[in-house]
Structure formats: C-alpha cells, structure tokens
Symmetry: C2
Subunit: 416 residues, 2 copies
Amino acid sequence: MKTDLNTLMQEKNLDALIILGDAEHNPPMYYQTGGGHISAATLIQKVGQPPVLYCNDMEREEAARTGLEVVLYSKYSFHELVKKAHGDMTLFGALRLQLILNDHGLSEGRLGIYGVIDLGFGFGMLSHLQELMPGITLVGEASQDSVIFKAMETKDEAEVERIRKMGKVTTEVVGLVKDFLTSREVDGEENLLEEDGSLLTIGSVKARINLWLAERGVENPEGTIFAIGRDAGVPHSVGRPEDKVCLGKTIIFDIFPCEAGGGYFFDFTRTWCLGYAAPEAQALYDQVIGAYDLVLENMEANVPFKTYQKLVCDYFEECGHQTPITDEAPKEGYVHSLGHGVGINVHERPFSGIYTTDDHMIRPGVVVTLEPGLYYPDKGMGARVEDTFWVRPDGQMELLGSFPYDLVLDMKKWKK
Amino acid sequence: MKTDLNTLMQEKNLDALIILGDAEHNPPMYYQTGGGHISAATLIQKVGQPPVLYCNDMEREEAARTGLEVVLYSKYSFHELVKKAHGDMTLFGALRLQLILNDHGLSEGRLGIYGVIDLGFGFGMLSHLQELMPGITLVGEASQDSVIFKAMETKDEAEVERIRKMGKVTTEVVGLVKDFLTSREVDGEENLLEEDGSLLTIGSVKARINLWLAERGVENPEGTIFAIGRDAGVPHSVGRPEDKVCLGKTIIFDIFPCEAGGGYFFDFTRTWCLGYAAPEAQALYDQVIGAYDLVLENMEANVPFKTYQKLVCDYFEECGHQTPITDEAPKEGYVHSLGHGVGINVHERPFSGIYTTDDHMIRPGVVVTLEPGLYYPDKGMGARVEDTFWVRPDGQMELLGSFPYDLVLDMKKWKK
C-alpha cells in the first residue's frame, strides 16, 4: 500500500524517488498523482516527505487537482537552459532536473528512477545528469522489483472497490457478448450470422465489445483476446479480425479493461464452445476447471504464489500435459504461469512463475488472477478460465466479478 | 519516411537501432512492426538491413503477422540467465540483450536506443549492458531529435490515407456533438438539459464522445478537451466532468483520437459559444481566425515552421496580447506555439516553437496542425481553432478533415 512506500525506500536506502512522464498510462506517476491530463511531468519524493509535482505551466490546473504541491517548470528558464544545452534536449532535461534536485537539497544520495517514458530520452538525460552530479547515485530498478511496484502490490479497500466496479463492468459486457452470440442465426456450415445475414467475424464481435465498454466509460488500452480454434490454442493470439465465428470450436475470450485514463484494471477469461463441444475439448476444459478448483481449495494467505503454480503443474503432468517444470518454453500443454497481480498494471506483483522469489506471495491485500489453461494449437483448441480475487485483510479470498463457468453455450435459434 | 531511416542512421554514425517494449502504444516499435499484441519485445535493426524482432514464445503468431523476421526469446535460456543474474531482472535483461547483440555481430559500435518502456528497468538494464560490453556505445537521443522520429516526420500517401480516415471519423463525431448540444432544451439559468431534464454536464458530453469514437473503432488514449468558461482560458485544462454546459460561454473542444492499438492520430479543435457570444469573446475569436488565415495565406513549403509562429506572435502583439516572444511563459494571451506534426504520436516533428531549430520545417510530406489560440482565464474565456494539414509532395497544403468555423452555434429550441 502507498503507506508502505517510505519503509520500502528506507529498505533500499533510497533518499528520494524521481518519477518522470505523463500522469496517465504511466503506472508510477498515476499511482502518485491519481492521473489527469498532465504530460512530461517530474515528481520528486524525498524519504519521509510528501511528493512535489513539476509540470508545464499550461497544465497547472490539471496538476492542482492532484492535491499535490505543484511547481511550474517556468521557474527554470527554458530559453536559457536550451541555450546552455546547445539545443540538445537530453542535456536540457538533465540541466533542469539538476536545478530541481538542488532545490530539494538532493545534490548527493541514492535516487530511484521511475516512469514509463521514451527510453532514448530517459537514458540520454540520466547519463548527462550522472556526469553533472557526481555525488548522486541513480538507481534503476526492474519495475516488478521496484519500491513503487512493491507498494502497489497490496491494495486498500478504496482501491479494491475500484477494481470491483471494473469487475462488474467486465462481467456485464461478457454477459452481453454471450447474449449476442447465442442469439445469432447459424448457416449450413455452422457459421454465425450478423442481423443482415452476412458472416459474423471476430472483428465485428470485438467492435461490439469496445462499444459496450465505452458505453460504461472504461478503456481497453491493451485490446481483447477473442480467439477461436487454432488461435485459441496460442495463449496470446488475440484472434484475427477477419476470422468467422462458428459452432463447436473453443473460443478463448480474455478481457482486461481499465478505468479511463489508465487507472485500475480487471482481468477475466472464459472459454466457450457455441452450440456443442467436441468430447476432446470438453475433457480439456474439465481438466482446466479441475486445476482451478484444486488451487482454490488449497490456497492460503502468506504462501508463495509459485507454490500453487507447482501444484497446477503437478496436476497437469499427471493428466499427461507438458508444463513449464519439464520444459522451459513448452509449445503445447500448460504453457504459462498460474496468475499475476492486477492493479494499475494489468500484470503486476505478485507473479507466480516457478522462478519467482518467495516474496511473490499471496499476502493479505493482494489482488491476483487465477488462470490455468491448456493449449493444443495443432488440435485447433485451447481452454483457459481466469478470475480475479482479493486476498482480504483476514486472509480470505474474495472473488471480484463472477460469471458462470459453462463451456457450451446453447444457441437460442439452433439445435444439434 | 521509413525509407529515410538508413540515411539518417548513417548521418548519426549508428551501427544499429535497438527498439524495446510493446508493439502498441509505443511509437518507435509500432512504426517498425505495425502494431499487434506483442509485449516486451526487442527489435534489432543493423544499418542497411531489415529489422529482426525478438519476442516471447506465446506471442509468436502475433509477431509473425508483422512480416518481420522473428526470433523467439526461448532461444536463450530464461532459467539460466535469471540464475546468472542472481534474480536481478535488470541484469537478466542485459545478459539476454548481450547474447542477442552478439548473434548480430554487434559486440562493438554505436547503438541507438528507442522505445517507450519503464525507465527504471531500461536505465538499470542499459547500465549493466554498458559494463558487460565495453566495446559498444549506447546512444540515447531525445525522442524528437532521434533518427526514428526524423524518419516519421514525413509521411507517404498510405500513411496520409490513414490520417485522412481518422480526420473523417473525428469530424463526424464533432458533428454529432454539435447536433447533440444544439438540440438540447435550456433551463431558466441558460443551462443545457439532458433528455430527462437533469443538467447536462461535461462528463456526460465526454461519455458520448467516447461512445461515438468507439462505435467507429478508434481509440481516445489521451482523452478529450471539452473546457468551458474559465477552463477554456487554460489551454490544457480538459474540463471538469461535473461542470454544467451553458449558453454564451466559450467552449474549447479539442479532440485527438487515434487508430485502435496506438496507430495514427488526428488532432482537431473548434471553439463554440452556444446560442450567443459576448462581443468580447467574438472579438477574441475573430483575432484567432485572423491569425489562422494569415498563416494559411503565407505558408510555403521548405520554410522553418517557427517562421509562422513569429508571424502569429507579431500579429497577436499588434492586437495587444502577450506572446511567447515577449514573455517566456505568458499566463494569458497567446501562450503556446502554432502547431506540431501529427502521426503515430499526437505531437511529433516538426515543432513550431520559437526556440526550435531550422530543420523543423514545413517540408513536403509533413502532416502538421495549425492551432492559434488566445486565452484569458480571468475573463472566463479562451479561443482556439485547429486543423490538420498534409504538405503534399508538390508543396501544396491539403486540409485533412474539414468542419465549419462558426463560433456561435444556434440552439434549435432556444432563442435569445
């Protein structure tokens, strides 16, 4: 939680954080500002002190709404600094940041660097800054191991309420997609049809998903996976827009929208077969549900997340599938890890891969997905089920956003 | 244009480009891949050679659709590299990138760094890489001065056609907003009303804008400015969702959607007064239109963009306004620059600020906005008009997306 940030900074001997970039679609800056139309900002947070936000004068009103102390960049002469930098904007950025740091008494110490920005500019600027200020040490942490991502890992009730609302929107839209698909007419080749009798495509389904999400005021910055048949057998294949939607094949529908402006995400997957399922697909799906139930039965707070990844691998191997334990990058079978944290990032701490460290833990406060899956692209099928849970302060798992688990969706206007 | 990239690399003595990050919402990677659901990828492009894309195995099918040569990360043992890095993921990233570079014979030379990614990870990884490979020089260019952004600066017909389509969508939606606003009932205090008789808010107008954009399959990642009264007087104030929409006040409506997945943008602004305008607002608006017309009359290909910024500053100063020539960061009057390039970035080269270099030029192939504006927050008003133009190969300016310039929009159910 945000209140952990100070302790985390002290543990890493950081004297201050420097967060760079826009307030939106930039998780560290969003976390500390709450978002807003603020671009190319700089946030300085000294250990034990509240953050101070630097921004362009034009965005002063948006910045004021963050509730943070705001300083305008015009405090430092743009013209003089550009001249001093001979027009090199990476040097300009370093010179201005040097003035800002000096104003905070940060001419020495360990400074952590954060924010999603253009790496060419960021690397060039920080290289200059390091030369300009030999007394400082710039610390670039891998995002998932960084103090900010560690603070983000556990959520308070207010954050979870925002994720719950996203779960409600998500499952509403999933319900609309289900109703839409099952109400379609079907042609002689078992393809679904649009109202006008033309073939229904994945692109058309996705356009509706985007519309239904937009109607609810949320964003879909990472897209949606709606993959059928062979594509359902490749976990991150998003589905080809021109592909037809037909009966009987496995459809993996993985949807992960976020609040407008790059806020909190939700993450949810169901596997569907329209009208009927092949026995082999049903058997595959039943094993996925078996893994899901096994994890839920065994899950406890304060256990490393990868414990359950191993549990699922063992179970799937008994069923005869490849897993990441036997093959580092299996092309079929169980090819990914069990789940991940969800927050301002669609994927964040804790992670569940078998090589993660023990501190990726199902600790109270985390919001995590559970998403076992099995994939056989050459057999034209795949299955995954994914739900998002909050581990409450009392250690109980709370399901955020529920939806039935039926593999086969009956078609209203078609019978086998 | 993309075909300029090789020459640009040679001019900067770059032996190769390294682009990092996702394929979408990451302009350099989108430019070279065409987008797709590909995350945390690495693209290596040696001078004079086609790019090679490295990605996670799970995303191999999405990567294959880029048409580029694809190598899967599983070529390099994740487990062994993580072990060698003692779990430090910035070191892991550097070790893997070292193997990739060695496979391209890049154990020495000047390597340009690009991509929008987490700076903590990027800086940490590149710092390790520099230590691991003392023979290489990593070059971090300021994004707008980088070889990739310079290549992006001029567009071919296929790119412009995509921007034209975005212009069509944008002006269609602007037309829908105009129709919606002018069809409203008005209460005794000149506030616009929803169908159900409640007060119409900016948040409600914006929700409709998002919906109408989504219906057309486009994204709105940077939001929309719809600012009324005092907020219209602060150029980047996006408008408060809870604010009422009322007659007579200036409304600045600046809309900048992009193709789904972070593709090409459009950028467009109109200023409206519903029902009637105060004489002072009309006079302000007429001066903005005066500046716009003045630029269009004088604009020629192969002239530095800032020439026209100076022209507008001179004109506005004659009208008695502050400008960036007299005050580096004026709080009222003409407080920004004339325009900017538009492409995969909503703001890109060429720029028009008075301190830009002469190579920010209205050269054939650029797509630029012209957007003079005047702002008086303390008088509760602002005015800006913005259109997007392509400078065709023959040097002629082509308006992409047209819409009338009326300040006052007549209300269908209300008369003064």
